[in-house]
Structures are given as C-alpha cells and as structure tokens.
C-alpha cells in the first residue's frame, strides 16, 4: 500500500520534472498571463481593482502576501510544480481501482492533457491550480456524500486553492453545488456549498465595487472561442481537452493529422471504462459527475456553435459577469477529469480481459496506453519544448521601483500603450506588462486585447480617456498622470511630442521614467466600498482557517490523537 502510494508520488514527480525542467534554471518564467516579480507590493489595485475587472482577484493579493515572505521565483516554482504534481496525484487517487498501474495511467494522463499544456503555455497558472485541486475536490465531495466525518473541511480545503481566480472559483462552486446536495445529509452539503460560496466572495465583491462595469466587448466571443487545432475542427479539439483560442499557446503536435485518431482511441477507451465506473460508483453521483462534465463541455463549445455564439455575444455585452464565459475552453477541466478517469478504467477493463489469455501482453498494453498521451503530445516536455524559460529582470526595474517608492503618490502610465510586451531580455516572448505587479504604484497599462487583426476593447474607463487624448495628439502631461514609464523595446512607437513637458527621472537601457511636474503627489484615495473586498477576503480566510482547524486541530484538542493521526495518514494516502 505504502509502496503503491510512493510509486504514484514518484511518477507524478517525474512527470512534473519533465514538464517543468527549465524551471531548474534561475529567474522568472514570463509568458503571456504569467507574471511573477521578486516582491509584489500589496496595493489596493491588486487587492480590489478600481478600474478593471477582477480577473486576478484574490490571486494577486495572495501572491502579494506570499512574496512578502519568500521571493517571487520561489512562489512561481511552488505554484507550477505543485499544480502539476498534485494534478497527477489527485487523478491517480480518484480512480476507483485496486490496480496501481491504472492509477499511474490516470496520473500521467491528467498531467499530460492538452488542457494543462495550453493553459500552461498561455501562463494561466491560477487556472492550473484549480485544475490540480479538482480531483481532490471531487474526491472530498464524494466522501461527503458517503458521510465521512470532517468531509466538509476537506471539501473547503480542496476548493480554497481553486477559488484564487473567478473561473476556478466558479468551477469549484459548480462541482460542490452539483455533487454535494443530498436529502439525507443536507446539513453537511449546505455548509459545504455556503463555504465555497464564501470562498468566491472576494472576486464577487471586487466585481461589484469596480468602476469598470460588468459587461465586456462582444468581439471577444469570436476571438476567444475554441479553435480547431487540425483538420477535425474545434469540437474534436475540445473532445481531446484542447482547443484553446490561441495558436501560440497550442503545442505544435496538436496540429498533427493523427491527433483526432488518438482522441477517438481515448474516447473509445473512456466509453469502455464508463461501464466499470458505473459499477464502482453510485448512479446518483455518477449522473451528477456526467452533468458536470457535460456542462463544462457545453460552456467550452458555446462560442463555436452558431446559435449559441450569438446568445453568448448578447450576454457578454448585456449581462454583467457573462464575459467570464467568452473563453469557455477554461471550463473544460471537469470534462478532462472524467475523461481521464474513464480512460484509465477502460484500460483496466482491456487489460483484465487480456490477462486471461496473456499476462505479458496485458502489461505491455497498459504501458502503451500510459505512454499514449506523451506520445501524442511530446512537446509538452521541457516546458513546452523550451517555451517556458526563466529570465532575470534587468536592473532597471529595481531602480524604477525604488524611485517610485521614494516619491509615492499618483498614477504611472506605461507607454507605448499596450497590455502585452515582447522584451528582448525575455527572448521576445510575449508577456503581460509586469509593471502593475512590479512597481509600488497604480500603474495604467492598456487593456485593449489584440488577437490577430481584432482589437477587443477593455473595460477601464480611465484608459479609454487617456487613449483618446493621446490619439488626438495631446501630450501625456495633460492626462493627469504623475509618472510615465517608457519601455524602450518599443521606444520607436512613442512620439517624442507625447512626452513634452515631462521631466526625465531615470534613463536606463530598458526603461525610462518621467515625472509630470504639473501633477503634485497625491495620497491614494480609497473608496470605502473597496473595503467590502477586504471584508470578503477576511471571510474567505476565516473559512479556510476554520476548515483547517476542523481538519487538523479539532481532533487533537479533543484528545482523540490516535484517530487524528489515522485521519492525517488517510489524507496523505
């Protein structure tokens, strides 16, 4: 038993090492939405954005707190390494089987999905944390249904990491509210659902108090819809757990013509495994799992089905919060989990049948299925074939951060107007501008997203006003910002006339910082409603602390040490 458990962790560790090998090098992996900085300041804009939608609430607050204790590069490695490792172990532990080989198959399969690869390559590590928490959460909810003591605490502790992003929080809430309720044990399930709702409170509160409004540009529906990765189209890509909108975040191997056939093989295996799952799980729980996975798949497919795409476009433009659905492929995680579990059980069924005739062949077959995801997408290895590579920030960044810390107050405008940058020191990899996370000030970066030829308008009204002024040829000094940060890699795009009237404070190889003498330093004015986000954060933290207390401390205080040790062993089992 212990040997099997160790083997599962060992295989998960090997997979993690293979996927994230480049992170052994020093520095920060900066790619698309993945930005880590040495020490992220705990600013109001990161806790409760005043002008933008809370896409990284409470993730940014969590990172800000953690980087006060340990450097950002450590947090990045723990987050990414932990996500891949725990995803693999969680899936391996979730499969209802006695066979270690089948558990290993599920572990490798769940840690080597196109979903994980694509979300890793687009840098959405918060979503990967949710993906990793998902098997643990499903397992905890199934234990709650089975009436296991302290299962509510387990559910909340598994849901907490998932809820660091709005999408992850919604997925966790969907899992618990769909799987947990049952008439016989309504009290536990009600507490669990209410607890997970409270874990979602920070981003909900931030969405309610922001000035950005809750609606988004409907142009985003078409550009962020699932994308066909080969001849089989977007629905087949989704069926194989891929289909992210971005070609740059898709492993090259997904374009191979044989990929749809691999998906077909996996679906056939999953169909075979489903029968076995039906025998080993209560029909009620299984039906709910199916509904959950199906709902995830439907959300992912919304943008590509003609009728539903129109409805989604309307919803995104009219209904606050519906913008969360425009990159629907994110919601595929429950489908990926169910698919992997069924594939693993399908392989078990196949192998059990083969064992009757030839034991060696059965072993070889299991090994073959285990290697299938790796063989079909080898370019996830080594950080997506070298796409994730740590770099160091030029010293300029530290100098500019120091200047701003020494003379606080006022907004910083990052020029040229662009949310994403491709720095020469980051080998030209596109990354979200690190300035709002690196600098101890309110940093304004353009929130227009350019996907191919389409510009998806952002929600920040202040940026809109600045864009209009600069577009009309007015100097930046008239915008009311106190600081201007010019990022030199695109210096050619900043018209010198734009900088008229500014004082140069720092000129480095990569960054130039200007001060606007027309704007005096002003303290950060915090609207009282933003405290609602802090209260919501406190409530979420209280839920986690209470769950931890119930899980680890309560039993010990009651003197029931022996049973608690057993429970702890079970938790790590």
């Amino acid at each position: 038993m212990v040997r099997d458990r160790l083997l599962l962790y060992a295989v998960a560790a090997v997979v993690t090492a293979i996927v994230l090998a480049p992170l052994a090098a020093p520095g920060y992996v900066l790619r698309y939405d993945m930005v880590f900085v040495p020490r992220q300041p705990l600013t109001w804009d990161l806790v409760a954005p005043a002008q933008g939608l809370p896409r990284a609430v409470p993730m940014d607050a969590v990172v800000s707190v953690l980087t006060q204790l340990v450097p950002g590069w450590v947090v990045q490695r723990i987050a990414l390494g932990g996500a891949v490792l725990l995803a693999a172990v969680g899936a391996g532990r979730l499969v209802p089987t006695e066979r270690t080989g089948v558990r290993l198959l599920a572990a490798v399969g769940y840690a080597w999905t196109p979903y994980l690869a694509e979300r890793l390559l687009i840098g959405q590590w918060g979503l990967l944390v949710c993906y990793a928490a998902l098997p643990w959460l499903v397992r905890a909810v199934l234990e709650l249904r089975a009436g296991r003591a302290d299962a509510v605490a387990r559910v909340l502790l598994a849901a907490a990491p998932a809820a660091i992003t709005p999408t992850g929080g919604l997925i966790a809430f969907g899992v618990v509210s769909l799987l947990a309720p049952q008439r016989r044990r309504w009290r536990g399930s009600t507490v669990a659902v209410a607890g997970v709702a409270l874990l979602n409170a920070p981003w909900v509160a931030a969405a309610l108090v922001t000035d950005a409004g809750g609606t988004s540009d409907p142009a985003g529906v078409a550009v962020f819809a699932a994308r066909g990765e080969n001849w089989a189209g977007p629905l087949a890509a989704l069926a194989g757990t891929g289909g992210i909108w971005s070609a740059q975040a898709t492993p090259a191997s997904r374009a191979l013509p044989l990929v749809p056939l691999v998906t077909l093989v996996l679906l056939a295996l999953a169909a075979a495994g489903f029968g076995l799952l039906r025998r080993r799980m209560s029909s009620d729980a299984l039906t709910r799992l199916l509904v959950l996975a199906g709902a995830g798949f439907l959300l992912a497919a919304l943008g590509v089905v003609p009728g539903s795409a129109d409805v989604l476009r309307w919803a995104v433009a009219q209904l606050p919060g519906a913008g969360l659905l425009r990159d629907g492929q994110k919601f595929l995680a429950p489908y990926a989990l169910l698919l992997v579990v069924c594939v693993a059980l399908g392989a078990e069924r196949l192998v059990t049948r083969m064992e009757r005739t030839n034991r060696e062949v059965a072993g070889v077959m299991l090994g073959g299925v285990l290697l299938l995801p790796v063989a079909a997408m080898p370019d996830l290895a080594f950080g997506g074939a070298g796409r994730l590579w740590p770099v160091s920030y030029p010293a300029d960044w530290q100098v500019v951060a120091g200047r701003l810390a020494a003379d606080p107050g006022g907004e910083v405008l990052a020029l040229p107007l662009s949310g994403y940058r491709a720095y020469s020191w980051n080998a030209g990899r596109t990354v979200l501008d690190p300035a709002p996370r690196y600098l101890p000030a309110t940093v304004l970066i353009d929130d227009t997203l350019r996907v191919g030829d389409v510009a998806v308008t952002g929600e920040n009204a202040r940026l809109r006003e600045i864009r209009q002024l600069l577009g009309a040829g007015r100097p930046v000094a008239e915008t009311g910002v106190r600081w201007v940060l010019v990022q030199q890699h695109r210096a050619d795009q900043v018209d010198p006339a734009t900088l008229t009237g500014l004082e140069l404070v720092h000129q480095g190889a990569f960054l130039a910082l200007y001060r606007n003498p027309a704007v005096p330093p002003s303290p950060v004015v915090v609207s009282p409603v933003r405290w609602a986000v802090v209260v919501a954060l406190a409530a979420a933290v209280a839920v986690v602390v209470a769950a931890m207390f119930r899980r680890y401390v309560g039993g010990l205080l009651r003197g029931n040490l022996r049973s608690e040790v057993q429970t702890l062993e079970d938790w790590h089992a």
Binding site: S246, N358, V361, G368, P378, G386, R387, V451
Partner: protein
Amino acid sequence: MRKALTLAVTGLVAAVLGFLSLAGLAAATTATEEEAVAKAEELVEKAKQANEPDPYVPEIYGSR
C-alpha cells in the same frame, strides 16, 4: 500461434508508442535558448514574407 501473433503486434504497437514518446522527449529537451530565438526570428521573417502581422509585435496577445 494466435498468442504469439497478439504478443508480436502488441509489442510492436508499444514499441512504436515508446519510440515516439522517447524521441519526442529527446527532441523537446534539446531546445535551447538560441534555438528559441532562432525560431522566433524565423517566424518573424515568415510573417514578413507572407505580408502578415509580426507575431512578436508586443501588443498582440495572440492569434487564432
């Protein structure tokens, strides 16, 4: 005879899968920083020739 044939076919399939994954891993792990830069430059050049937008122009979040 049937057993031997099954064993041979299964072994062959497993060998192909194993080779593919090992070869893929080997290819993936040989990617270096220089190769990544060279690949980026190649993509930029290709985009120029095809009169398409430069994929590394910073303000582009991605393309479909």
